[in-house]
C-alpha cells in the first residue's frame, strides 16, 4: 500500500503560484504517472444588491477538518489507485482572484486522476468543517453557502 503523507492541508492566505508550480515540478521524476488533474478554487467577486465581494475570510475547525481530510483522502487514494494526491485550503482573508483551494491528483492513466480530483473537491465542500465569510466592499458580510448540483 502506498503511504499517504499527513501534512497540514491549511495555508495562511492564498495558495501561491510558486507553490503550485513547485508541486507540479516535483512530479516530473515520478515517471509512472501518466496524468495529473488539478482543481483550483478562486475567490469570485460575487455581486449582490449593488455591492460586491472583495474577499472571503476562511475559518476551519482545524483538528476535526484535518482528521476528516486524512480519512477522505485515504478513501479516494485507494478507490482510484492513485500515485499521488495533495490538498491545500486557505485560511484567513483571501482577496478576490486569489486561489483558496488546490487539489492535485496523479495516476497512471487519466481517468482515475480526473475522477478522484472531482470527488475530492465535492467531498471537501460537503464534509470538511470550513466556513467562508464573504466580505463586501461596504464592509458588510454574508456567509458563503455551497451549492451542489
Amino acid at each position: 500500500m502506498k503511504t499517504i503523507k499527513i501534512k497540514n492541508p491549511f495555508v495562511d492566505g492564498p495558495v501561491s503560484l510558486g507553490f503550485i508550480a513547485e508541486s507540479i515540478q516535483k512530479h516530473s521524476s515520478k515517471t509512472q504517472i501518466g496524468g495529473h488533474s488539478i482543481f483550483l478554487g478562486q475567490v469570485r467577486n460575487d455581486k449582490k444588491e449593488g455591492k460586491e465581494v472583495t474577499a472571503i475570510e476562511f475559518t476551519a475547525y482545524q483538528e476535526m477538518a484535518i482528521q476528516k481530510l486524512v480519512q477522505i483522502r485515504e478513501e479516494i487514494f485507494v478507490k482510484y489507485n492513485l500515485e499521488c494526491m495533495h490538498v491545500y485550503h486557505s485560511l484567513g482573508k483571501i482577496k478576490k482572484g486569489g486561489i483558496c483551494l488546490f487539489v492535485f491528483t496523479s495516476s497512471k492513466h487519466r481517468k482515475p486522476a480526473i475522477k478522484a480530483c472531482d470527488e475530492m473537491v465535492e467531498r471537501i465542500k460537503k464534509e470538511i468543517p470550513i466556513w467562508g465569510k464573504e466580505i463586501y466592499n461596504d464592509d458588510t458580510h454574508t456567509w458563503k453557502e455551497n451549492i451542489y448540483e
Binding site: 478554487g41 475559518t59 485550503h89 473537491v121 464534509e127 468543517p129 466556513w131 455551497n146
Partner: protein
C-alpha cells in the same frame, strides 16, 4: 462550566468563537434546549453539535472534559 467552539454564521449570533456555557447539562439535547432559550435565533438556525469531533446521539452523556462545537453548514472551497 463548558467552553463551546462556535463557527461560521453562529459567531454572529454568539458574538464570539468560544462561548462559555455555565449551566449544568448532561446530554446534547439538554444543551440544545438551553442554548435556544439563551439565543432564540438558534431555533431557526441550521447547525450540528459535535462532541470530540464526532456527531453523537442526542441522549448520550457528554463527558466533563469533552470538546463541544457548534457547526453550521460547511462552506469551504
Amino acid at each position: 462550566m463548558k467552553k463551546i467552539k462556535i463557527f461560521g454564521n453562529l459567531t454572529d449570533v454568539f458574538k464570539t468563537n468560544e462561548y462559555v456555557f455555565k449551566e449544568e447539562i448532561n446530554t446534547v439535547s439538554e444543551l440544545k434546549e438551553k442554548l435556544v432559550i439563551q439565543f432564540p435565533e438558534l431555533a431557526s438556525s441550521k447547525f450540528l453539535i459535535v462532541v470530540n469531533n464526532e456527531y453523537i446521539n442526542d441522549k448520550k452523556i457528554i463527558e466533563s472534559d469533552a470538546e463541544i462545537a457548534l457547526l453550521p453548514p460547511y462552506s469551504g472551497g
